[in-house]
Structure formats: structure tokens, C-alpha cells
């Protein structure tokens, strides 16, 4: 009796090998799941969190940052990858200077003439951990993530950008992206 049981067990054990072959055989004949990436775009880059960018729209100009140079982002950043350089007030013309002096003499409050938008917004992508702390702490909503997945460089310096310049440059028609055929399907 035991011997029969043993024999049945051995056969079923060996049968498990056949079952495994059936699974691989089945998938062998089924369509592939891989997206042939450079030739076909992948479907999941829509939610990708790329490097930071400044949001335009300051002073009604879509290519001027909304940023008010408060420096909250630089303070909040755990990796110290942001440096905000404030714009200096433009040198007042003689008339303005005179008006300013007059106003001061009259005891009026003088307004700081320095524009709010930053001179430079230096961002070191190579240090960034993309945690989003800066975006959450920006009082002006001036920062966001790009969906730019196609970023590569040859040295660390390639990842050190001035976001103000980047925003200004985006005015010019963007260089044609490597033509990626839209994903046919990856949810096969």
C-alpha cells in the first residue's frame, strides 16, 4: 500500500515538472509584454516627476516666473539644491531719486522698488531627491515638476540649471523631441 502511495507521489512530483513546462510554453506563445522603448513610447510617463521648473505667469507674462524670491524653497530643501538670487533694485534715475528723497522727507513710506522675480534660480538636479518639499512650501505656487524623462548629460554640470533662463528659453520653439511613436499599447 505504502509503495503504491510512494509511486503515485513520485509520478505527481514528476508531473509538476510538466505543469511548469506548460506555463512557460503558454507564455512562449503569448504576445510579449515589453515595450520596445526607443521606438515606441511607454505609457506611464504621464505621471513621472521630473526636475523642477518655475511656473510662468508672473506679471501676466507667461515667460516670467511667478516666483517672489522669498527663498522658502531653498530653506525647505533637504538636499540644499536650490539657490535663489534676488534681483537688485534697478539704479534709480535722478528724478526717481529726488522723488524718493522727497517722499522720505515727508515721512511717507517708501516702496522697495526691487522687482520680486528672481535674478537667478539655480537648481542642482544632481542633488535633488525629488521629494517635493519645495513645491509644497512655495507660497506663490511658482514651482512644479516637469514630466521630462528624456534628460541625460555627460557631466554633473549638465544638471546645474538656472530655472529663470530655462523658463525664458521655453519661449523659443522647443527643439523637436526625438520622434517617439505614441504607445500603441502596453496594457496588452
Amino acid at each position: 500500500m505504502n509503495a503504491i502511495k510512494e509511486a503515485i507521489k513520485t509520478v505527481s512530483d514528476l508531473w509538476s515538472l510538466m505543469v511548469g513546462l506548460r506555463v512557460t510554453g503558454k507564455y512562449f506563445l503569448e504576445p510579449q509584454r515589453t515595450v520596445r522603448y526607443p521606438w515606441k513610447a511607454v505609457s506611464n510617463i504621464g505621471t513621472f516627476k521630473g526636475h523642477l521648473e518655475l511656473v510662468g505667469g508672473g506679471q501676466k507674462d507667461p515667460f516670467k516666473p511667478r516666483c517672489i524670491s522669498c527663498g522658502m524653497c531653498a530653506l525647505a530643501c533637504p538636499s540644499h539644491c536650490i539657490t535663489v538670487v534676488k534681483k537688485k533694485a534697478p539704479k534709480p534715475t535722478p528724478e526717481e531719486e529726488k522723488a524718493l528723497a522727497e517722499a522720505k522727507a515727508n515721512g511717507e513710506k517708501t516702496k522697495d522698488k526691487a522687482p520680486k522675480d528672481p535674478e537667478k534660480f539655480v537648481y542642482d538636479y544632481s542633488l535633488c531627491s525629488l521629494c517635493g518639499t519645495c513645491i509644497e512650501n512655495c507660497p506663490a505656487g511658482a514651482l512644479s515638476f516637469t514630466g521630462n524623462v528624456y534628460m541625460a548629460g555627460y557631466s554633473r554640470n549638465d544638471f546645474l540649471f538656472d530655472l529663470v533662463v530655462k523658463l525664458r528659453d521655453s519661449q523659443a520653439p522647443a527643439p523637436a523631441e526625438p520622434a517617439a511613436v505614441p504607445a500603441e499599447t502596453s496594457e496588452a
Binding site: D13, L14, S16, L17, V19, G20, R22, V23, T24, Y27, R33, N44, T47, F48, K49, L75, A76, C77, P78, S79, S129, L130, C131, G132, T133, E136, N137, F145
Partner: protein, 388 residues
């Protein structure tokens, strides 16, 4: 291969020499790792072998040590969250939660209910991803090349889902003190709903492909038996201890968040061997799916971040707090001490893999090399978490 069997050759490093001091005559000292295909990163195990048999083994750590605990001393509490995604790349959200939970406990911050559900859902999805990664990698250790590809196929779906709210695919820093960074939108929720039946359909295939396979069974049955008592002395947790028959799960024993409201089981196995741990993890797939399913139904509307959530410049109040969650590998604990200053005074991270790996020297004694690989894999090690 720094150490050699020949006496006239270049001597080994500190650990090899220290280990070789107690070596038997005529035995072979072999360094498995730090670069070795089955040590998942940079674990190194010095083993003393007699032929194929292991007489003694000693794991050598520290190749991926980044001193997260020191980093916590130079960052504010909120700024430290991105670090938690990098401690354990397999189950990053578990660590997110442990740290955020500890800060919340310290400061007495209540988390909105929807945020709790979002945390449970994402954390369980992440656990599934982690178990899938383990499953594939473990079978790769055992010489089956194909399962990891199937596992990654499923894991990819989870990563796509998690990418939507978190923006990243591996090292999430998604939880915030007082909630989570972003709500799960309707599109994301519907994808999770679609994922659950998909995953359920895949599980029988896993069983057919390898779980029932006679070669696999022979490789893991009776290998690496860990008695519950040994587990306890070494402080092992997670699937390792559940595979030894102790139903210990932080989600049930020290309940946190909304887990008490959820109906799920703690799978255990009395086999105590690599097979037991394998079975427990496979059974946890189904339990995680159950949890997610219930959460989707029970999730209320509302905010996902508490009003007035701490800013990066926020100072944690004086005091101490210990918070533990159940990670994919076991009990993740974070112990915080704050002196009310800008940065936390002390942050202690309890990595489950650290305790689980300390078992290895004990368990591997007397096994053969191939079994050692099978045991190492069954502990589910993520080296960055162990080395921190």
C-alpha cells in the same frame, strides 16, 4: 577572494583574518560577496567550508552604510522624510510610515481618516511589490530564471499605480507628517480596483510555475529550520517568524492606523523552514489584496493632509516616541528623541532585515553552500536597510 588557501599569498582584510583565526585545519575560507550574484547588493558573508559543507559563517555588513541616523541629526524632521525612501528600496512606504508615525506620536498630530486609508492602500501595494521582488529574486537564487520576469510584469503594474500619487517608482517620499502628499485620484483608484482581480488570477500561475515544482520543493523543504525560540533570541520578525509558526504581526499586535477595522488574517506556517517562509509570503499576497479591497470600499472623502501640517522649519516638541509598523520584512521601528530643537536629537531606526540576518550564522551552520543561498534568500534581505 581576498583570502587564499595558500599561505604565501596576500593576506585577507580585517574581517577575513579575524574570522580565519578560529578556522579549523584544512578548511576553506570563502568570501561570498560583497560582489556575488546571490547576495542582492553588497552583503558579504565569510564562510568556512569543508568541501561543500559550511562549518561557520559570519555576515560582514557596512558596504552600504550611509549613516541615516546621523543625517537625521542635521535635518529637520520634515526634511528627513526623503531619506526614509532610501533606507529600504523594497518597501519604502513602510519606512515612510514608521518615521512619520513616530513624529506624529511625538507631537500628538492626528491624521485625517482618508489619509490613513490612503496610507494603508499604498503601503500594502508597496508590500505586494516588495514580495514580488523577493519572489522573483529568490527563485533566481535557486536557479530559475523566468519567474522574476513574470513577477516584474506584475510589479510594474503596481509601480505604475504608485507612480501616479508619489511621482516615483522606487524610493518614495510620499507620506507627510500629518497625512500624505497627494490624494489618490479616481483614475488611480480605478486602476487599483482593476489590479486586484488581475493579481488574483496570476497567483495560481505562480503556483503552477514553481511553487509546486518538485525541484523547488526539494530545494526549500526542510532547509534552514528556525525554531521559534531561536527567532525570539535573535529578535527576528516578519515572515521569518511567521514562517516559524508565531503569528506576530505589528498590524495586529500593536495595531495602528485603521488596521483594527480591517478584516485580514496573519498567515503562518508551522514548517519553520524556507518553505514555511515562502508559503507565508505567498499567502500574504492574498491578504494584502484583501486589505486593499476593503480599504477601497471603506475610504471616506476628505482631506489627506491635516490642516496646519508641519512645515520643514517645524520643531518637534520635547520628548521621545517609538513607533513600529509591519514592513514587508518585519517590524520597522523608529525611535525618536527630541530636545525641542531645530533637528531631532536622536533618531534610531530599527531595521527588520538587520535582526533577520543575524540569524543566518546560526542557521547556516552545517548546511551546504547551495542551502546557504536558499536560506539567505528566504530571509528576504534588502542590504541598504540592514546597513542603513
Amino acid at each position: 577572494m581576498t583570502h587564499s588557501a595558500l599561505p604565501d599569498q596576500v593576506a585577507g582584510d580585517f574581517y577575513t583574518n579575524n574570522f580565519a583565526k578560529n578556522a579549523q585545519e584544512g578548511s576553506l575560507i570563502l568570501n561570498l560577496g560583497p560582489q556575488h550574484p546571490s547576495t542582492h547588493g553588497v552583503l558579504r558573508v565569510v564562510v568556512e567550508m569543508d568541501g561543500e559543507y559550511i562549518l561557520r559563517a559570519e555576515p560582514v555588513l557596512g558596504y552600504l552604510h550611509r549613516m541615516h541616523e546621523k543625517m537625521a541629526e542635521v535635518k529637520t524632521a520634515a526634511q528627513f522624510i526623503p531619506n526614509m525612501g532610501r533606507v529600504d528600496y523594497g518597501h519604502a512606504l513602510g519606512w515612510n510610515w514608521a518615521f512619520v508615525g513616530a513624529v506624529e506620536k511625538l507631537a500628538g498630530i492626528e491624521v485625517p481618516e482618508r489619509a490613513e486609508y490612503v496610507r494603508v492602500i499604498t503601503c500594502e501595494l508597496n508590500r505586494l511589490a516588495s514580495h514580488l521582488l523577493w519572489w522573483g529574486a529568490y527563485l533566481l537564487d535557486l536557479g530559475a530564471f523566468t519567474p522574476i520576469m513574470y513577477a516584474f510584469d506584475d510589479r510594474e503594474k503596481i509601480l505604475d499605480i504608485l507612480q501616479a500619487p508619489t511621482g516615483s517608482r522606487l524610493t518614495y517620499s510620499y507620506f507627510r507628517i500629518g497625512g500624505v502628499a497627494k490624494d489618490l485620484n479616481e483614475d488611480c483608484l480605478s486602476r487599483i480596483r482593476a489590479f486586484i482581480p488581475w493579481m488574483r488570477e496570476r497567483l495560481p500561475m505562480y503556483k503552477d510555475l514553481v511553487s509546486d515544482n518538485i525541484i523547488l520543493r526539494k530545494r526549500i523543504e526542510g532547509i534552514g529550520v528556525i525554531e521559534p525560540e531561536v527567532c525570539r533570541r535573535f529578535g527576528a520578525t516578519g515572515p521569518v517568524i511567521r514562517g516559524s509558526g508565531i503569528a506576530y504581526d505589528v498590524r495586529r499586535s500593536d495595531p495602528y492606523s485603521v488596521y483594527p477595522k480591517l478584516d485580514f488574517e496573519i498567515p503562518t506556517s508551522d514548517l519553520m523552514d524556507a518553505r514555511g517562509r515562502y508559503d507565508v509570503r505567498i499567502a500574504e499576497f492574498e491578504q494584502s489584496l484583501r486589505i486593499i479591497e476593503q480599504c477601497l470600499d471603506m475610504m471616506p472623502e476628505g482631506d489627506v493632509l491635516v490642516k496646519g501640517a508641519p512645515k520643514p522649519s517645524w520643531k518637534a516638541p520635547k520628548g521621545e516616541a517609538y513607533f513600529a509598523v509591519e514592513g514587508a520584512r518585519g517590524k520597522i521601528g523608529v525611535y525618536l528623541v527630541s530636545d525641542g530643537g531645530k533637528n531631532l536629537y536622536r533618531t534610531k531606526l530599527r531595521a527588520p532585515g538587520f535582526c533577520n540576518l543575524s540569524l543566518f550564522a546560526e542557521v547556516s551552520r552545517g548546511t551546504i553552500l547551495a542551502d546557504a543561498v536558499a536560506i539567505l534568500g528566504s530571509l528576504d534581505l534588502i542590504i541598504p536597510e540592514i546597513d542603513r
